[in-house]
Amino acid sequence: MSQSDWYTQTQSIMQKWAETQQQMMSDWMQLAGSASSTMMNMWQEMAQQGVRQWTADSDSTVQQVADKMFSNQAAMMRFVELTMKTWQSLVPSFEGDWQSTLTQQMETIRTELLHAADESMAALKNVNHWWQTYVEQWQSFGTPWLQAFQQGLPHMAKADGSSLVEMTSLYWDAYQETFGKLLQAPGIGYTREVDEKLRRSFAAWLDVQQANYEYQVVLADTWVKAFEQLMVELVEYAEKGETIQSVRDLLERWSATADHVFKAAFISDAYIYAQGKLINATMLHRSRQREVNEMALKLMDLPTRTEIDEAHRRIYELRKEVKALKKQLATLTADKKPAPRKTNARKASES
């Protein structure tokens, strides 16, 4: 399709999207409950896909910016919807205790925000279940690349002879007899190390889930505080008889309020602790995961990340040594030559 075709098509989809937005906005404004957002999301998705095609030949920055504009537009509508719904719940109590209603409303939002995290944490209590899941994940981990290995090597074998086929079988058998079965084997002898590494990795993974939950709690709390602050400000405007002039105006107020509340939260010990814990747990898990990965790689006679890193470290040290020796050599050579005239910086400026 030509540029103008994309333009026309996207324009038409965007029109539909705008009409749906208008309809939703109309419902919200009349406090009549909201229409389903499914249609709006659908039009947005279609428009976004069209734009991706449209900008396919453009610089990647153009594509990223276009994507962000769409996601922001969608986020904007969701935010307006949330604002309107909250407003709607506050209206009946404006003559009385709207603050209590707002607090209740915020509690509902907080609960909704944490729902998914709560569910996963509740499930985590059943450690045995998760251990099984984890082990299953690891068992399936090797399968795709072993399959690729199996599919790939016979092709190579056509050119190189049957020895490679035998090698494939050897590797496959080795896998089946060792790593593939180790996860079900009792933790004794040869398998003890594997078992230990897998359990350490699992423990680190549990820590990530725990840390992630704690982080989500702090984040959800901050979101709710920011939104609550915005609603208080909106009520104050309304009480003064002032109006927000536009969606942009609302979003700018939201952005300023939220950045302020988030900054206060980000600097708190609770946030710093939660963020640090999540980062540390994620990093430790990644390292533990690598230990398990590397067992499999060693069995396959493939170089591991640790081995490659070590090789890089040695190259780095040798390179550094060569640099030092070159410098030394240059100094020794220079000592034998008559000293070059060095211009004093001050003299240079005067000349």
Partner: protein
């Protein structure tokens, strides 16, 4: 009691969507070659590992070029072409027009095999290599050094260790006291915490190098709504103007062009500077040498941004208390960290401040 008027909101939404479609038409016509950086002509004159030293072509007759060159050392976290972003937003071009002879270190993109590069390598190896090259090439005992942000920290360290090679030192938006609590980065990295919130060694162990995207995410989180929402809403106001859209995209490209950080150097920087605040305590050790800021006895110009959220002014202004010079000047500008390079107003004031100060100290 409603906070909005429906008819106005509807009109606004229609207008926003119209602008988006028209704007996308503009954006889709912009190609990679339209979003180029750095209009000033330059030549690669020295290379060491993945770093390159460039010399910019003077824009004034040779006889008017100030004889002591200025080496610019930028931060590692973003690409140094920010100092020469585009013709009308270029600190480099403005300085060239004022007769300053400019060299710039391009730190390149560290690969996984560069994870062992240390801070000593950056300071003594790379900055040192560039300084020595220029001294040799220009037959000078000492040259001028301008360090920006983290590059300012490197410049302070280098100058303290090699004071005889630096004629005048300029630092711009450079952190000095890392334990000020008005900077989120400082707090997140553990300033003042009895137990550091993050373990840099675990990060390096897990990742090798610290991914640029991770660093960028952290920077965006410092102002999540302004940088994630408001910025793109603001784009709608200019999107139909091709030139302004190109400027926006160029800036966007720069922001997300974040090289990975060499693991060992990053870890030491976080531990010694952010966590340990060792720079002002004279405890930074590079190789077998201790960095003592009191050795900085040559003239020093300290430039900082009044609204800097990455390097708070309180972190920069204290430099005077720690250097050994008697010729110390400080100047602030009403801008943020990035505004120092791209704000039209600042670019009218900043280059002459630098050029005049240097020319007064030949």
């Amino acid at each position: 009691m409603l906070p909005f008027r429906f008819d106005e909101v509807t009109e606004e939404l229609l207008e926003m969507n119209r602008k988006m479609v028209e704007g996308l038409k503009v954006l889709s016509g912009i190609r990679s070659e339209d979003i180029q950086f750095g209009t000033s002509e330059k030549e690669a004159v020295y290379q060491q590992d993945h770093i390159t030293l460039y010399r910019y072509k003077p824009l004034v007759p040779e006889k008017d070029v100030f004889p002591i060159p200025l080496l610019i050392s930028y931060a590692l976290v973003n690409r140094p072409y920010m100092v020469d972003l585009q013709e009308d937003r270029s600190l480099v071009r403005n300085l060239l027009e004022m007769g300053i002879d400019i060299y710039l270190i391009d730190w390149g993109y560290p690969a996984r095999n560069d994870q062992w590069i240390s801070l000593e390598d950056y300071v003594q190896g790379y900055v040192g290599g560039c300084v020595d090259y220029i001294r040799e090439a220009r037959d000078l005992e000492s040259i001028n050094l301008l360090g920006i942000c983290q590059g300012g920290v490197f410049s302070m360290c280098y100058t303290a260790l090699n004071p005889e090679k630096i004629k005048n030192l300029i630092v711009m938006v450079a952190p000095v006291d890392f334990h000020v609590r008005d900077g989120l980065l400082n707090v997140w990295m553990g300033c003042g915490a009895s137990t550091p919130p993050v373990n840099p060694e675990w990060m390096v162990d897990a990742l090798g190098n610290i991914p640029g995207d991770l660093m960028n995410f952290g920077f965006l989180m410092l102002k999540p709504f302004e940088l994630g929402l408001q910025k793109y809403l603001g784009l709608l106001d200019i999107i139909e103007d091709t030139q302004r859209s190109v400027n926006f995209l160029r800036m966007e490209k720069w922001i997300f062009d974040s090289p990975d950080q060499a693991g060992a150097a990053w870890s030491q920087f976080v531990q010694d500077f952010y966590m340990g605040n060792k720079l002002i305590n004279g405890e930074v050790i590079l190789g077998d040498q201790r960095v003592d800021l009191k050795n900085i006895t040559m003239p020093v110009l300290n430039l900082y941004a009044e609204n800097d959220h990455l390097v708070p002014p309180s972190s920069s202004v204290v430099l005077k208390d720690y250097v050994g010079t008697n010729d110390y000047a400080v100047r602030s500008f009403p801008a943020g960290h990035i505004g120092m390079y791209v704000s039209g107003r600042i670019q009218k004031e900043l280059p002459p401040t630098i050029a005049d100060w240097l020319k007064a100290r030949p």
